[in-house]
Symmetry: C2
Subunit: 78 residues, 2 copies
């Protein structure tokens, strides 16, 4: 179903974006988990595109990665 596959695509793109930013900082999932106060397994699931993450959790992850929300979500082509 088109709707479902779009959702999956965007969750996947977000997860990849977070992983890239984390790796650019040279952090493990554990370090990011510690920095943003979210469980390591949750971070892993978000990076795999398996969680429809909330706004505030995105904000926590962005802040821990020294990114604004806008920067974290800049993966969409215009």
């Amino acid at each position: 179903m088109k709707h479902q596959s779009d959702d999956q695509l965007y969750l996947h793109l977000l997860g990849q974006r977070i992983r890239l930013a984390r790796e650019q900082k040279g952090w493990s999932q554990e370090s990011l988990s510690f920095a943003c106060g979210l469980h390591r397994t949750y971070i892993g699931a978000v990076e795999r595109g398996e969680r429809n993450i909330s706004f505030l959790n995105m904000k926590r992850i962005a802040t821990a990665l020294d990114l604004s929300l806008s920067e974290l979500l800049d993966f969409e082509e215009k």
Copy 2:
């Protein structure tokens, strides 16, 4: 508690941003609700900063408003 007030602030800023973009299109909450497939009362609550909205619902609202997620979330000062 500091943590709580930061969260409230960001939910409030997001809600204001969505309201501004909606009003710039000359839309009522009902029109936005119809365009993005989310209930009007939910849209109202999000605009009032009362909902910790999910990534996919933000994506639906941004798309309905012809904005990228990055544009929708550009309200943070750097």
